[in-house]
Each structure stands twice: as structure tokens, then as C-alpha cells.
């Protein structure tokens, strides 16, 4: 799959290229600013774009705005945003439409190469990857509602679920069996009155809708 990278820090960009190539992506363009990335997407029609949030010329949220344009003009292109810090509003903006093929991760996650490659593949495959910190900050905002009914374990499962993990991924992260995870998820969906859904990203969509983001 073709990929485009937009990251103004040269060091990190070199690292990203290496990681994406290792993960089997064909990096067709790498740029350092938000306008160039739109031109590159137009030209190459990649399957995945990895964008830094903060880029020249303004060093504010150019990446988010470029991502929104990409989502609108080329809906089949998956977008993964990298940010120095968590800003829920960015995540909210990004997730407000279709949550297929969207990711929002902290930059430092790139260092966890294996997990980052996982997230890349998930997003490129039409799934979702949300930074655990984004998810818990979103949960934090909704402290006084049905979420209180969840047990701590169920909360853990919900956070992992919201970050886009599959049942197997959740089971691995929590060191429990997949069937235990499935049971937890059923219980969560029941407690939160959420409809059962099959695909991973639909679950995320449901969770985010519930969190007031989607």
C-alpha cells in the first residue's frame, strides 16, 4: 500500500519512513508541511497518510486541518495523526464523521515500534487507533453517568476497545482469555445500552458516540 508522510522534524520523519517500510508500506512522498501533503495525496492517491498535528507555517493544528480535508476529498485514504500531546478536540474533529481508517496517537508511541506497526496496519485496513491517553481523557470528561456502573475491569476493557483493539488484542493486553473479554464486552454493551456490533471500528464508533465525541 502506498503511504505519504508529513512530519516537519527530520529525525522523526526518517524514523517514520523506516518503520512504514518495515511494515510493508511503500512511502511515495514525505513532506514537512501541510500544504505539500495535500498536493502529494492528490498526486499519489495513497492508502495511508501519516501526519504530524503541528507543522509549518503556523505550528498549530495544520495537520488536523489537512487530515479533515483528506477525509472529505479522499474518503478511502486512511489518516493517522501524530501529536506531541493529547487534545481531545482534535480527536473529536477527526472522529466526527466516519471513523473508518482514522488514528490519533501520541508521537512518542512511534518508539513502541511493534505496537505502532499494529496501529498503522489497523488504520490502513479501515480500523481505528486511538491513543490510550486520548481514550482515558475522553472517559474522564464523562465521569457522572452510566460509566460509573462499570467495574474497573470493564473500564479497562472499554478503554482498550475504544482505542481500537480487537478481542484478541484486549485479551493479550489484559492477560485474560478471549472468551473472558467477550463476556466483559457483552456486559459493557448491556450496561451502556449500546447495540452489539460486529466489526471493531463499529464498536469504537459506538463507544465514541456514547462519549459524546462521534
Amino acid at each position: 500500500m502506498r503511504a505519504v508522510i508529513a512530519e516537519d522534524s527530520v529525525l522523526l520523519r526518517i524514523g517514520l519512513v523506516k518503520v512504514l517500510e518495515t511494515a510493508g508500506f511503500d512511502v511515495v512522498a514525505e513532506t514537512g508541511d501541510a500544504e505539500a501533503v495535500l498536493a502529494a495525496v492528490e498526486e499519489h492517491r495513497p492508502g495511508l497518510v501519516v501526519l504530524d498535528v503541528r507543522m509549518p507555517p503556523g505550528f498549530t493544528d495544520e495537520g488536523v486541518r489537512a487530515a479533515l480535508v483528506i477525509r472529505k476529498q479522499w474518503p478511502d485514504t486512511a489518516v493517522l495523526l501524530l501529536s506531541q500531546y493529547v487534545e481531545e478536540r482534535y480527536a473529536a474533529d477527526l472522529l466526527s464523521g466516519d471513523t473508518r481508517g482514522v488514528g490519533y496517537l501520541l508521537k512518542e508511541r512511534v518508539a513502541d515500534v511493534e505496537e505502532f506497526i499494529d496501529a498503522l496496519r489497523r488504520v490502513a485496513g479501515g480500523g481505528t487507533a486511538l491513543d490510550p491517553q486520548v481514550v482515558s481523557q475522553l472517559l474522564l470528561r464523562r465521569h457522572s453517568d452510566p460509566l460509573d456502573r462499570l467495574t474497573p475491569r470493564e473500564r479497562d476493557v472499554l478503554e482498550l476497545m475504544a482505542s481500537g483493539r480487537s478481542n484478541a488484542g484486549i485479551a493479550q493486553a489484559l492477560v485474560v482469555s478471549e472468551s473472558a473479554v467477550a463476556k466483559h464486552i457483552n456486559s459493557i454493551l448491556a450496561k451502556l445500552d449500546l447495540p452489539k456490533a460486529d466489526a471493531d471500528h463499529r464498536r469504537v464508533l459506538a463507544v465514541l458516540r456514547f462519549l459524546g465525541v462521534g
Binding site: 523506516k18 518495515t22 498549530t60 493529547v86 487534545e87 512518542e108 518508539a111 515500534v113 482515558s136 470528561r141
Partner: protein, 419 residues
């Protein structure tokens, strides 16, 4: 020995008299200008009709009043150069337009004090000064009466005066007059200095106010400089060391993923290095967050605080309601307050949860941090609360804590911010 001490006593009243006389003389000269202006209509006999008399009085008076800044500057220069007395300048009036400034100027009490000096106290003292100069001259002539007599041709001297004892009295009176003139000169100088300092310079309250404004300004400058410095360090660390560490960690991580057929010990070394690099990244991020997080600068308190709340090891409820962003210095203090207060809760309170509320009320940014812990926290306890109170005071905020034994603990901070 004896003679010198007698001479010293006799000379004492004349110490610094030259300076005083010069000072009074320049006072008369400076005062002449407004006096002339006031006198202009009367030089040729003056008007006689009531209306023109009023005009003839009012117009020059207004002219002098309007010339107050110039006159004040002249007087201030006189005090500085003749006596070395510095009369502090009043702050310039602020205003958008010329009319605004004029209106403001007329409303300032100091303006009227100055006009009063130039029209009343100044002329009176100058008049007294002129009389003193006359006294100097007269007393000088009288004290030297023998010199004058001696200068006359001998025939005239004998014919008109003879050997009169009157001349002794005249000499004595003259000498007394000299002492009187010296005393007067010095007294008038003192009086003028006191009057001018009180009338031309700022009053004690105004002086204090000016001082407070100065101090406030310089303190704000220091705070801003410190904030700017923290931001600079944050950016340097982020653009420099942090990027390098991430790049290094990425390379190590890639090595782990791609070099599958490495011997076990080499793999272990890479694993270890990778973990250390990631820990270094985390530590550096923590350090940077403690300085001045980029999220605070870019996105404001709400986003920055939810980061703190998320990282806290206990559940933290967060309510932020800010219609407009406060000044950067206030934001930085509010961020610091929440960060420190939560750190305290974690360390000391044994709390199950904490709540953070941030909102504006009028011109006040209110920060309330509550926990359900054991209470008993006191600013004297060395729990970082004292530092917190100081940081709050640096922006004129108030800090209060209620922490009865058994809890709950409530930290309330109010920070002034323009509405």
C-alpha cells in the same frame, strides 16, 4: 584657637547663604514670566469696565495655568541645579486623543496643586525673596557706613557729619540686617523647597501609587521573562533531545522487529536499550510538562488540565468553564496550582478521588481542587503548599485551604484576570 571658634560661631548663619541667594534670585527670574503675563493688560493703566476687567484677569490667569507644565519643568530644573533637590515627575496623563488627555489633565488634583504654586505660593515667595535681596543690599550699605563716610571728601565729612555716634548705630543695624537677611534667605529657601516638593511633585499617596505601579510592572516583567524562559527551554528540549531520543528508540525498536535471528544476548542488549530510551522519553516529557507544557501554550488550560487529570493515579473529575483564555501568566499559575495540588493529594491525602473545577467569575479565575482524603494539610507542613501560595501571590492571587482532620481538603485559589 579661641578666635577661630568665635569666628565659626559668627560665620555659622552665613553657611550656604550664597547658594540660597542664588536660588532665590533664579526664583524671582522664573517667576517674572507669569507675573509679566498677568500684568500685561495693566501696563497702560488697564481696563476700567467690569467685563473687560474680568477678561483682563481671566485670560492671563488661564494662560499661566496652561503654561503649567513648562513652568513646572523650569522650577524643577531650578531646584535640581541650584539645590540638588529632586522633585519627582508626575506620571504623564493617559488618553487616546488630545481632548481626552486634556480632560484627564484637568481632572488630576496634581495639576491644580501645580497651578496653585505658580499663581500663589510661587509669586509670594518670589516677592519675599525680592524683599530679602533688598534687605541684603540695604544692610550691606548700612554695615559699611564707615567706608562710605571715609570715602567722602574730608571737608564734606566734617561739615555735614562731624564725629557722630549715629554711624555706630547704623553699622550695628546693618550688621544685624545682614544676619537677618542670611536667616531669611535660608528660611525662604527651606519654605520654597517644602512648598514646591508638596505642590509640584506627587503627594505621598501618589508617590506610593507610582512606586506600586512601578513594582507591579517590573514584577510582571520578571514573571513574563521567567515564563518565556521556561517556554524556550521546553521548545529546545522538544526540538532537540526529545526528537533524538525518539529517533533512537525507533531505530532500536526497528532492530528488534527486523533482526529476528540475533543471538539471545544481543537481543537482550537491544531490548534493554530500547526500554531505556523509552523511559528517557517519558522522563523528559514529564520534565517538560513541569516546565511549561506546549499544550498549555497552544490549546489553553482546558486541554492542559485534562492531561494532568488523566495522568493522575486516582480518578479526577474535571470541570473547566472558560469563555475566554486568561493571560499566559495566569494560565501558567493555574496550571501549576492544579498540578501541585493533585501531586499533594497523591502524596499525602490517601484520597479515593479528586475534583478540579476551573471557572471565571467576574474578573477572577477560580480554581478549586477538592479531595476526599484524610485532611490535615497545612501550608506550614512543608507539603509544597507554601510554594504554591507564593506562586499564587506572584500574580496577586489569593490562596486558601480548608483541611480539617478527617477531610475533605479543599484548596481554593483566586487569580485576578481581566474579564
Amino acid at each position: 584657637m579661641r578666635i577661630t571658634s568665635v569666628a565659626r560661631v559668627l560665620r555659622k548663619p552665613f553657611d550656604g547663604v550664597g547658594r540660597a541667594v542664588a536660588f532665590l534670585t533664579t526664583g524671582i527670574l522664573v517667576q517674572l514670566a507669569p507675573l509679566l503675563v498677568l500684568a500685561v493688560p495693566w501696563l497702560n493703566g488697564g481696563p476700567t469696565e467690569a467685563l473687560s476687567v474680568i477678561v483682563a484677569v481671566l485670560v492671563p490667569l488661564s494662560a499661566v495655568a496652561l503654561a503649567t507644565p513648562v513652568l513646572t519643568a523650569a522650577q524643577t530644573a531650578r531646584f535640581r541645579t541650584r539645590l540638588g533637590v529632586a522633585i519627582p515627575r508626575l506620571p504623564a496623563v493617559a488618553g487616546a486623543s488630545r481632548t481626552d488627555r486634556a480632560r484627564q489633565w484637568l481632572r488630576t488634583p496634581a495639576t491644580w496643586r501645580q497651578i496653585g504654586y505658580h499663581l500663589l505660593a510661587g509669586p509670594l515667595i518670589a516677592l519675599a525673596g525680592a524683599l530679602t535681596l533688598l534687605l541684603w543690599a540695604a544692610a550691606g550699605v548700612a554695615a559699611g557706613v564707615y567706608v562710605w563716610i571715609w570715602a567722602l571728601p574730608p571737608e564734606t565729612r566734617v561739615e555735614h557729619l562731624g564725629y557722630t555716634t549715629q554711624a555706630v548705630y547704623v553699622t550695628a543695624t546693618g550688621l544685624a540686617g545682614l544676619y537677618g537677611a542670611a536667616w531669611l534667605s535660608r528660611a525662604l529657601t527651606r519654605l520654597d523647597t517644602r512648598t514646591a516638593t508638596a505642590r509640584l511633585g506627587p503627594s505621598r499617596a501618589e508617590l506610593l501609587q507610582m512606586r506600586v505601579e512601578e513594582v507591579t510592572e517590573s514584577r510582571a516583567g520578571v514573571l513574563d521573562a521567567a515564563d518565556a524562559e521556561r517556554r524556550r527551554i521546553e521548545r529546545d528540549l522538544h526540538d532537540g533531545a526529545q526528537q533524538r531520543l525518539v529517533s533512537m528508540a525507533v531505530n532500536l525498536g526497528l532492530a528488534k522487529v527486523t533482526l529476528k535471528d540475533l543471538p539471545d544476548d544481543a537481543r537482550k542488549v537491544i531490548d534493554e536499550a530500547h526500554r531505556e530510551a523509552k523511559e528517557a522519553i517519558a522522563e523528559l516529557s514529564n520534565l517538560v510538562r513541569g516546565l511549561h507544557p506546549a499544550v498549555l501554550e497552544d490549546r489553553g488550560l482546558d486541554a492542559a488540565l485534562s492531561g494532568i487529570a488523566e495522568r493522575a493515579p486516582l480518578p479526577v473529575g474535571l470541570t473547566v468553564h472558560l469563555p475566554v483564555r486568561p493571560a499566559p501568566a495566569v494560565e501558567a499559575v493555574a496550571y501549576f496550582v492544579v498540578s501541585e495540588a493533585l501531586a499533594n493529594v497523591v502524596k499525602h491525602a490517601r484520597a479515593g478521588r479528586a475534583d478540579v473545577r476551573v471557572e471565571t467569575r467576574g474578573g477572577i479565575l477560580l480554581v478549586v481542587v477538592t479531595d476526599d482524603g484524610v485532611g490535615g494539610a497545612a501550608p506550614e507542613g512543608g507539603t509544597g503548599l507554601a510554594g504554591l501560595a507564593k506562586r499564587v501571590a506572584s500574580v496577586d492571587g489569593t490562596f486558601s485551604i480548608s483541611s480539617p482532620a478527617g477531610g475533605p481538603t479543599v484548596v481554593t485559589v483566586e487569580l485576578p484576570c481581566a474579564p
